[in-house]
Chain length 402, copies 4
């Protein structure tokens, strides 16, 4: 097991560190003020433009893509610490580097499975950061953790497919720059369990696409990121060439999307946990109660120690998973991918919660980023499958050894 | 130890149950829709009026006040189950019964310590539900868990007091019907530690009172309840007769306010936990994954059992505390009052969190009350002193026995 | 809900308190020394005799039996605090008062279901404390949490029954004064699930009874209490009149035994937790590290607060359960009986574990009672059904409400 | 970060694996039977001899020693997986490979700080496995987590030192083959805090050495390993040449001993956790309750997943620590050394506890190794400093960054 980085990765890591410290963190107040001043805009505020330009200038662009022709050619182990850094300022830095979900996963799918035409039409502008995309998988009326529950239909009709279904949590879908959705639906309801679904590209301006509303997360609408859209696809007709990959291969394609996506999510979460721990340490060193700084209280020291210990362990497990994906592929890392999906959001939630407690009332308010970080970490114990499904995966694998 | 109720209390309890089932829960959707339609209003939406009228008609009004001339003359043990019921719909039912914080605590203070004039001017309209009030204790720049940190000054100047300070989390203070603040400040900075503070009544339309903004709780502004105001008191001059109780008795008065307030908060939280558990049970019986209802999964049954067990224990401890307060007073119940402040918000947070998990994406969204309930429960681990301070109280008492 | 005690119960409670303080605790060192000096004796050491005489003299004898003709006529709520006190010194005090398991449960069964002859032969000497008894239910080769797994056969053969089976954890069975076993076995393998088993009285000197060995609990053999016997019943023939209750009613009888038994176990465990907390407080007040007593460390204060809070809640839940059993019977208390079986051993284990930590190396050694108390508490998460079975009961009841 | 192994280490790892599977595990029943048959022997039973011979033959001897002239020349990263394997059978395999504590630590000290004469007299026979040693640091009357509490005196008197003090938990000290103790005591009570102590070699047959008794761990005497001795050093006079390292350097030497010792302990504990998880999986696949194997119950699968996830994380943190020690030394790894001391015993205790629960009554008995493994893991949360001290170290380091 080797978590070492090449020279180029090290240089990019350092550039990202400087970008975070010198540009992203100082821009947070302005970013927040601009967002607050425009409560009806579902997109990043103007401050983002300069940060994106800076990131490109520093070579911090599309680093998530392992394909050297499209991205930076970094291994997952090499990209991991950069994703972690971006988690320190999750509303700004990932997008500034064109590395934010769900665009990253969508770009990966287009890069891996897209036809030349699909890549020219959608991947190119996404890579340039001109448009954004969403991923329509989850449905409000069924437990989406069990893919066989999906009810959206994708039916062939001559040279077209007709998509009919009801999706929600299509993140980014409220953004006016969001032009394309990748939709998962059933093409062969009678096929074998894992050979029923397909993925299809649906431009959001196609007739029949109705964006009904945005759902919130603990009161947050996550506007600057394009929110979470509930979308009705009512007899939406798209050319047959919009199918992504082969018919009935939707499940396999979804799996391909999951592995790297989880690593990215987890590394960003580790960055959020580091941010929270750092804020907590700063707070307790400067805040005084009962005649001494909070940092002198044993219980608070205990939280800090526990936070450091949990973060370290979680990061090592993510790195191991990344290393496995780099060396033996998604399949060979299946157990670990499930494991980090359980470990990291729980860890991050715990660390952030302790930081909130250390900040008191400021911690639950908008005056620190903590409450929103918590909401984000909490949501990731549900998104992409609840903890329970992933634990089951780990247990099945373990029991299978005996 | 006897947790029994008198006949009158039993009748009121049943009336409250019917009120909840027949009027409050059915009104929730309309209440939410009205609130959503008026995003700039910091008060309950129109639907509240009918509910308040109904509550009065049923005799469910000011039940929190033990004084039989002003309220219902219930003991704390007797009021507890009604407060619990109101927690099932915490945005609506407490206020509909004129039993919502911080008005309850403020009315208690006015009933106990108010002069005739203070009672006529402020208590009467509060009891009638015509105006609302806030409590200005916490300050943004210091750890308010340690009262000796309070920096707001209340200085005598002839027939007036001049109040100067910076407060936040004055809940309800954004409400246009909120007319009066009870402000805690230092009158004798050189007095002994617990004889330095006073409380004073400050009408919010007094010159120098500046409501600067509302702070949020996670992403919620809690508008329908009047939000949480940050208020600057800049050389605010009020008549000397506005002092509540004697000079330098602010600390003792604050203590008197805390006991019942915590019981109320805790009982409402237990109601919230019951609501969450009930929602969770309904969900898992009807939601299917992997071919069977979620309710058949052992892990989910485990949550349900744990939730029931924790709720029962917490409720019994609150009842014991109420019984102690009824029989030996606040002082004799000091350890238990600290204990329930630790136990109940943590328990409620855990139960609500599990319900969120059972609901998946709907759980973190606004489509269930769960995420907002969680935010509320989480905040109560900080408000009125963080858990850590109360644990210290319990430990000190325990160690003192040896 | 009323947890009050009558006058007589209050007097007995006080007597028990004095007995504990003045006689039992001071006898612990001699008891331990005598036991250590006689490593081959499977019975209480000589010091027990004087304590038993003292207990009888004080009226502290057979208090567990609600039947006023046989015992003290206390309600379960009234007996509970006495059982709790006995848990402070669990190896000595319960037996000194003739209130130790499994004799208590066995005497209850004989009192409720025994024929006159059975009562004369076995109950009388048990009530006088002359002999001891064991209960043979659990079997080594099957999961005894599922009663339908029991394989021991009780077959009618003329005027006799023939018992054949393999039992273990027949507690007390190594004691030479243990004369009688109550054995659970299958009389009608084809009967309905809960109408297959019977209970039968088997004198341990009957041919075919083979006591094979004692099992240990962690490293303890629990000799002074008669240990835990593994017993083979090989074609053991007893008169038909030895059947306890009716044929095929074994399951119902076992249920009758469980309710009070669990209350007793739980109250004793609460006493053990109180003992541990008291030892912990004494330790941390007197032990110094890094220049100050351990009691000044925030983390240790946190344990103490948490211990006190958990004990209070657990006790209240046990009292509620006792009250339900007193007022509506075993059936109506089924959920609570399951709940306390989960809550109390876990709570006690946690408190004892923290006390161990506060004692350091002395805590895991035989120099404090803590490690043995821990082993006892840990075992009770398994005995009488593992936690998981009881949680399932609570969850089923909860889900049944929707 | 690179956790890879060289070829030689890989070969030794495989040899150790075969040794465990083919020789150690099969010998466990005979080992236990021989030990049970000789309850007064404080040494490994005869079965050990053959295993030691086999281990030597396979080159599995003194592998812990990094010095290639004395041991195998493995890095700590390379030795770690072998230590882990030995934890699968902790009473047998470490000693069979001459790699058991406290001999390993003592041999390291002699290798690093011993004079030629000390090495010839004590290190040589220890390396050959002919004698055993103990380490006398902890004292019964003070909190040994704070080294400045040590009261044992080592006073120079001409050509000799006179040692006077009272020690306990001198593990292995009951073994008749244990010939030498390394004793920590104060040589300069007025020196600076970390320059007061020295270490000295005291042959156990020196006049004045009195082995008073063995202390137990949760009822276990750990006889086969030589138990835990309480030793009085009453004016014990040894030659001045017996001082280990320089005068007043005891603290620094103790630190040198701790790093590798903790890695070894932690890796063995991980092996114990793996053994427990493996036993748990075997059990639940074969045990049936309520009509299906325990392995089908969601709660039990949850334990298994959690166990695997915790073990993985803990192992990675230990490997990182080992790698740091190999590359930047004890000092640079100080935080991690503290962290693993907290993480691993807690993790192992949790995993073993869940395995106990899965085994039911057999789990707490001597019929599985689980209860004894638990006792061992629990003890390691105290030995070498309680968790709380190590957490403090981690927190101090973290806070120091701000």
């Amino acid at each position: 097991m080797d978590f070492g980085y090449g020279e180029r990765a090290t240089a990019l890591h350092r550039a990202a560190e400087r970008f975070l410290t010198d540009h992203v963190l100082p821009a947070e107040p302005e970013f927040a003020a601009q967002a607050a001043a425009a409560p009806d805009v579902w997109d990043a505020p103007p401050a983002m433009a300069g940060l994106r330009a800076k990131a490109r200038e520093l070579g911090l662009w599309n680093l998530f893509l392992p394909d050297p022709d499209l991205g930076a050619g970094l291994s997952i182990v090499e990209y991991a610490p950069i994703a972690e850094l971006s988690g320190h300022s999750p509303r700004i830095m990932p997008e500034a580097m064109n590395c934010s979900a769900p665009d990253t996963g969508n770009m990966e799918l287009l890069a891996m499975f897209g036809t030349d035409e699909q890549r020219a039409t959608w991947l190119e502008p996404l890579l340039r950061g001109e448009i954004r995309s969403c991923f329509s998988m989850t449905e409000p009326d069924v437990a989406s953790s069990d893919a066989s529950n999906v009810t959206t239909r994708i039916e062939r009709d001559g040279d077209t497919y007709v998509v009919t279904g009801h999706k929600w949590w299509s993140s980014g879908g409220m953004n006016p720059r969001c032009r394309i959705a990748i939709v998962l639906g059933v093409t062969d309801p009678d096929g074998p369990r894992h050979r029923r679904h397909s993925m299809i590209l649906v431009p959001l301006d196609t007739p029949g696409v109705r964006i009904r509303r945005a759902t919130t997360v603990f009161g947050y609408d996550e506007r600057t990121h394009g929110g979470h859209a509930e979308i009705e696809y009512d007899q939406v007709r798209v050319p047959a060439g919009n199918l992504l990959g082969g018919e009935n291969e939707g499940f396999a394609i979804a799996q391909a999307r999951l592995g790297p996506g989880r690593i990215h999510h987890c590394m960003r979460l580790i960055g959020m946990a580091e941010r929270a721990l750092s804020l907590m340490c700063q707070r307790v060193r400067t805040r005084t109660a009962f005649g001494r700084p909070l940092a002198d209280q044993g219980v608070i020291r205990d939280w800090i120690a526990e936070a450091r210990i949990r973060i370290e362990q979680a990061r090592l497990l993510v790195l191991k998973t990344a290393w496995l994906m780099d060396t033996v592929g998604n399949r060979g890392a299946a157990t670990e991918i499930a494991a980090i999906k359980v470990v990291v959001p729980e860890m991050a939630g715990w660390v952030i919660d302790r930081a909130i407690q250390a900040y008191g009332a400021a911690g639950v308010s908008g005056d620190t980023p903590l409450a929103e970080l918590y909401a984000h970490a909490r949501t990731l114990r549900i998104a992409d499958g609840p903890d329970e499904v992933h634990r089951r995966t780990v247990a099945r694998q373990e029991l299978g050894r005996y």
